[in-house]
C-alpha cells in the first residue's frame, strides 16, 4: 500500500525519461563516467542557508539499487523498451562514487550538496529518487532550524504527522526536525525507527468522550501520573486551567506532580499568561505550559514577542509541509561527461560545469565567514575546510556514516556559529559564496565553446 510490496523495488521510483535515456545511452554504447551535481539554485523567501539532510536514505538506496524480475515484466508490458535494454537493467547495480556535504552541515545556494560520478546510465537513473529525498529532508531540517531560532531555547516537538504529505514525509519530518534540534516527535513509528524521543498529550476527543472535562483529566492522570499533559481549551481555556489546577492539587496529595497543560486555540499569548497566573496563585509554578495550533517560526516569534508564558511548543502542519516554502529549486545536473565539463544555457537555469569541492572559511571566533566553490582537483584552499566528503566508492559506502545524533550535534555546533544576521527568519543577510578563479575560468571557457558550437 505504501512502499511495501515485496515485488516492487525502489529502482522504479524514477521518471520515465531516466529509463528512456538509459536505453539510448546503451544503444549508443555510452558507458563513460559522468558527474552530476545536486544543488539548489535559489533561496526560497526568507532563507539564506540550508541544512544538509537525507544522505543516509540516498546512500542506502544506491547500495541496494536493483531492478526486480517483476519490475522487468512490467517494463516489458509497456511496449516502450527494447529487449536488450531490459536484459541490461536486470543486472544493473549502482557502481559509482559519491561525495556529499554531511548531514547537519549548513550549505548555500549553488553549492553542490552531493556529487555522483559513475557510468552515465547509472548516475542518470538515480536522479529523481536523490532529489526527492534530499529536497524534502533539507527543506524540513531548514524549516525546523528556523523554529529553533525563534524558540530561543524552548523545547520544540514535531506534531506534524497528520498533515505531512504522506507517510514517508511523516517519517522524514520527524527525523529532519530532530536533526535540526527538535526535542522529540509525536510520531510513534519515527520514534521506533530512528530512536527519537516521543512526545504527546491528549486530543479534544478525549475530553468530549467523558461526561465532564474534569472526569477526563482525572482519568488521564490516573493512567499516566508522571507524564500527563492536560489539554485545557476544549470548552474554555481559563476554566480548563482551574480544573487542571484542582487535579494537580489532588495529585500532590498522592505525591504526584502534574507535568503540564496544553493550549491549542485562541489568543495563546494572552491565554498563556492567564493560565500561568491561575497556576502561580495556587503554588503550581512547576506545571509546564505547552502551546500548539498552526505554529511555525513566525507564530512562535510572535508569541514570544508578546510575552507568551510558554515552556515548549508543538509544531505541526506548517513545519511538516514547510508551509511558507514547500519546495526548493533543487536540481541534479550533468557537469562532466567522459572528462569533458558541460553546462546548459537555458535562461535562469544555468549550471556550473565541472566536478567540484566547497571550502568553508571561519573567522578567528569560529563564526562562519564565507564559502568558495572550487574545482575538485584544483589545489586545496589554505585555512579552509573542504565540505564535500567521499561517502561512497564503487557503489559501497566508504565508512560508517554519522548517526542521527552525530548529525544533530554537528548541526547544533555549526548553527551556533552562523552569524545572527544570516539566520534571521525574515529578510536574512545573504551569506557570501564565491567561485574560485579556476572554476570561474572554466565556466567562461565552456560557455564560449557551447555558444560557438550550438548557436
Amino acid at each position: 500500500m505504501l512502499f511495501s510490496d515485496a515485488d516492487d523495488s525502489l529502482a522504479l521510483v524514477a521518471d520515465l525519461y531516466e529509463l528512456t535515456m538509459a536505453q539510448a545511452y546503451l544503444h549508443e554504447s555510452m558507458f563513460a563516467p559522468a558527474t552530476f551535481s545536486l544543488f539548489i539554485r535559489n533561496y526560497p523567501k526568507d532563507r539564506s542557508y540550508f541544512v544538509s539532510a537525507g544522505m543516509e536514505d540516498v546512500l542506502r538506496y544506491l547500495e541496494e539499487f536493483q531492478v526486480t524480475a517483476s519490475d522487468i515484466d512490467y517494463l516489458r508490458s509497456t511496449g516502450i523498451f527494447a529487449d536488450d535494454f531490459l536484459e541490461y537493467l536486470r543486472d544493473m547495480r549502482f557502481t559509482g562514487d559519491v561525495y556529499a556535504i554531511p548531514e547537519g552541515r549548513l550549505f548555500f545556494a549553488d553549492e553542490p550538496v552531493l556529487e555522483v560520478t559513475g557510468p552515465i546510465i547509472e548516475a542518470q537513473f538515480v536522479e529523481s529518487f536523490i532529489i526527492n529525498q534530499i529536497n524534502l529532508q533539507t527543506l524540513i531540517a531548514t524549516k525546523a532550524s528556523r523554529c529553533l531560532t525563534s524558540g530561543q531555547g524552548r523545547g520544540l516537538m514535531d506534531f506534524a504527522l497528520r498533515r505531512t504529505q504522506g507517510i514517508d514525509a511523516a517519517m522524514k519530518v520527524a527525523r529532519s526536525s530532530y536533526l535540526a534540534g527538535f526535542m522529540g516527535t509525536s510520531n510513534v513509528a519515527a520514534g521506533k525507527r530512528y530512536g527519537i524521543p516521543l512526545s504527546g498529550t491528549m486530543a479534544h476527543s478525549f475530553i468530549t468522550a467523558f461526561e465532564q472535562e474534569s472526569d477526563a483529566f482525572e482519568a488521564f492522570v490516573r493512567s499516566f501520573p508522571k507524564i500527563a499533559v492536560l489539554l485545557i481549551d476544549t470548552y474554555d481555556t481559563v476554566g480548563g486551567a482551574h480544573k487542571a489546577a484542582e487535579v494537580a492539587r489532588r495529585m500532590e496529595s498522592r505525591g504526584e506532580r502534574l507535568r503540564g497543560v496544553r493550549l491549542d486555540s485562541g489568543d495563546i499569548a494572552e491565554l498563556s499568561k492567564a493560565v500561568r497566573h491561575v497556576f502561580r496563585k495556587v503554588g503550581l509554578d512547576y506545571v509546564n505550559i505547552f502551546a500548539s495550533g498552526g505554529l511555525d517560526e513566525f507564530g512562535i516569534a510572535d508569541l514570544l514577542e508578546r510575552g507568551a508564558e510558554v515552556d515548549a511548543f508543538g509544531v505541526g502542519t506548517k513545519l511538516g509541509v514547510s508551509a511558507d516554502a514547500p519546495w526548493t529549486d533543487m536540481a541534479y545536473k550533468l557537469v562532466s561527461y567522459n572528462g569533458r565539463p558541460v553546462l546548459k544555457l537555458s535562461p535562469e537555469k544555468r549550471t556550473l560545469a565541472g566536478d567540484k569541492q566547497v571550502y568553508r572559511f571561519v573567522d578567528s571566533q569560529g563564526v562562519l565567514s564565507h564559502d568558495v566553490i572550487a574545482l575538485r582537483d584544483e589545489p586545496g584552499v589554505a585555512d579552509a575546510e573542504p565540505l564535500l566528503c567521499k561517502v561512497m566508492q564503487g557503489g559501497r559506502m566508504v565508512e560508517h556514516q554519522p548517526s542521527l545524533n552525530d548529525g544533530r550535534e554537528t548541526f547544533l555546533d555549526e548553527f551556533a556559529r552562523l552569524a545572527p544576521e544570516n539566520k534571521s527568519i525574515s529578510d536574512p543577510a545573504p551569506y557570501r559564496v564565491e567561485l574560485s578563479p579556476a572554476l570561474r575560468a572554466l565556466q567562461e571557457k565552456v560557455e564560449r565553446e557551447v555558444v560557438a558550437r550550438e548557436l
Copy 2:
C-alpha cells in the same frame, strides 16, 4: 528505509497521544462505540470544492491493522505504557464501520467525507493515518482538477516525482492527479502499481552528454522512433526547433514521425508560437509541442490566455506539493460517544455533533445545485442523493471498492456538472451547503448542555 522494514507495522504510524488515550480508555473500561467525522473546516485560498481521494489506502490500512511483536517491544522500551495495555494492543484489530464519500466525488467544507464508528480505542487510534492519507490525496486531486479546468482539454501529465514531499507522496500524487483527469505520469513505480499510463521525454543532461545537440536528438529517435519527444531549450529554443525539424525530416524519409518537442524554460507563450511556426513552415504540423517548467493551474491559464501553442503540459512541483495551498485544515473529530452527541467549543474549531449523512441536489440539467448535511438517521431527503456510502462493516470492506478508473470516470462526470463559477481557479463562487433542521437543532441543544455543564 522507506516504509518497508518487515518488522514495522503501519499501526504505529500514529501520534503518541492516540496510544496514551487508548491506555486511559482501557483503564476506564470505556469500550462503547464512538463516531469520528473527517471533514475540512475551511477552504484554502481560491478553492470552493474538494475531490474525495485516498479511501482505498485507508480501507486497506484498517483491514490490515495489527501491532507487531517488534512494535510491542519498542513500546515497552519507552517506559510509557502499562503491561495490560501492551497486552491489549497485541490482539487489537479494527472492528468498526466506515461510511465514505467515494473517490472522485466532489465534497465541500464542513461535510464529513468519512465517518468511522467503532469502539473508541480503535476509532481514535487510526486518526493520524486517516487524516494523513486523505488530506494529501484530496489536496492533490483538487489541485489537479484545477489544472484540468485551466487546460481546456489539453493533455496533462504528472511530472512531480522529484519534488514531492517523499516517496509516498510521489505515488499518491500520480494516483490522485490521474483520478482527477490527468493523462499519465512520469513516475514509473506509480505506472506499475496503479496501471497509470507513463509519459516522459528527455533531460537536458541527455543533450549535454553528446558533443552536439543534433547528435543527441538523432540518438534518441534511433532508440525510440515512435515516441520520441525532443527537449529543445538546452542552448536556444528556436535553434533547437530548427535542429528538431531537420531530425523530423530525416525521420520522414525512413517512414517515421517525430512525436513532439518539449519547452522547459523562457517565455513559453512566445517561444511556442515561434516553434510552431518553424514546424509549420516545413510541413511538420503533426509535431506536438509539450511545455513544462514551474506550471500549475495559474501558469497554464496564463500561457493559454497569451495564445501559447501548446498541445500538452507536464505539471510538476507546484502540483506535487499543492504549492499555493500545501495542506487542508482537515480534522477528525469525535461527534458521538455511546449514543451521546458531542462537540467542542474551541474558538474557530467547532465541530458538528452527531453521526451524519450528506445529500446532494442537482437541477433539471444535472448541474450541482446544493448539498444538505443531515443526521444519518433522519428520514432521507427526497430528490437528493445520499453521498456517504457504507464501505466497511465490522472491520471488513463491504463490497469491492471502485477501481481507480471507475473513480476517474465518476470524477469527470460530476466535475462536468459543477457550475463554472464554482470551479473558477481564482475567487470561485461558494457552493451552497446547508444543515438540515434536525442537525441544526441538535447542535443548539448539545451546545446549550455543554455551556451549562462546563462554563
